[in-house]
Amino acid sequence: MTGFNSELVVTVLGRQVSEALEGPQLALLLVIVGAALLTVALCTRLLLLGRREELRLLSMVGWQRRDTLLRIMRDGWWSALLSGAAGMLLALGLAILITALPSLLVVLALLLCGPLIGILLVSMATIGIARQETGRAYAWR
């Protein structure tokens, strides 16, 4: 095979391999995100079980429910922010090792989006459970 044909074969093969892996990769990503969300939700439930007295007290001393919810959510946001940033840095490092350095704009966008996505995902995982627990503390009897 000439050099040109060799390159062409590798490129075509590479594209085929990439396309073949795209589906499973996406599925794997969804499984990982799902597992992470479930883990965060489970941890939140356990944490809030231990904080029932605190939620009841906040309700009794006159905190509005939305402020109590915000307090619960905010507790998870710092770790979400750090996890998002750490995840994005790891991904960037890996991408640089395997392929090439992305443009500065892409790097900045990823560094900004990573923590924000972290906060969004953690909020999604906690809001339902937080609403359920505060609902119990704020119910008229």
Partner: protein, 222 residues
């Protein structure tokens, strides 16, 4: 004007075994600035009545007005505001958050609603009033029972409520500390112009009040 006005207040709750009737039509009036003790045997409905006055529970029937506000009509933000600004609560078990310092515990009720600087100033001044100016940064586990109750009293007064409700405030304290705490509560309420309602089993605590209301089987004993 009356601070608390109850008319035919009934309260009951359901259990697996059926309905438990706690209050059977309480009629009661407490004037502004009064110091009232509510006494009676266990299960007479004293604490329940206090919880109804604090708008923590809703009467099943009857009218209950606190400072002219019908508690039944309160909901959501209005209810939270009422609990925050109209009523100060002191419990037997102090109910302090262990992860917060004495200062932060006092600031807690108003934390989302006041500027931190102003709130801190107010909380420090209240802690000084209860004699804990040197314990501001201490955590509940580093404080004695009496000191924890002092922090709870400061917390109850942080929003300058016109009504202070105390449920067995000396129930977890020895007799000397009980007297100190009750004297402090009485003095602070006079100074701040609060109406004080104390639920107690302790005759000494009740003796400090201007008036005693005795409850038996969910009714005021007349």
């Amino acid at each position: 004007m009356e601070m608390i006005a109850c008319s035919q207040v009934h309260y009951s709750y359901s259990t697996g075994a059926g309905e438990v009737v706690v209050l059977r039509g309480v009629d009661m009036a407490i004037s502004r600035g009064e110091h009232v003790a509510i006494v009676g045997p266990s299960g007479a409905g004293k604490s329940t009545l206090l919880r109804l006055c604090a708008a923590l529970d809703l009467p099943k029937s009857g009218d209950l007005q606190v400072d002219g506000v019908e508690t039944r009509t309160l909901q959501g933000a209005m209810l939270a505001r009422f609990r925050r600004e109209q009523v100060g609560l002191v419990f037997q078990q102090f109910s302090l958050l262990p992860a917060l310092s004495a200062l932060e515990n006092v600031m807690l009720p108003l934390l989302p609603y006041w500027s931190r600087r102003a709130l801190q100033k107010r909380a420090i001044s209240l802690l000084a009033e209860v004699g804990l100016e040197k314990r501001v940064e201490h955590y509940p586990e580093q404080l004695s029972g009496g000191e924890q109750q002092r922090v709870a009293i400061a917390r109850a007064l942080v929003a300058s409520p016109p009504l202070l409700l105390a449920d067995e405030p000396t129930g977890s304290l020895d007799s000397t500390t009980s007297t100190q705490i009750m004297t402090l509560l009485d003095t602070l309420c006079r100074e701040h112009g609060c109406t004080l309602v104390v639920v107690t089993h302790d005759a000494k605590v009740a003796a400090l009040a201007n008036r005693t209301i005795r409850m038996v089987d969910g009714l005021e004993d007349v």
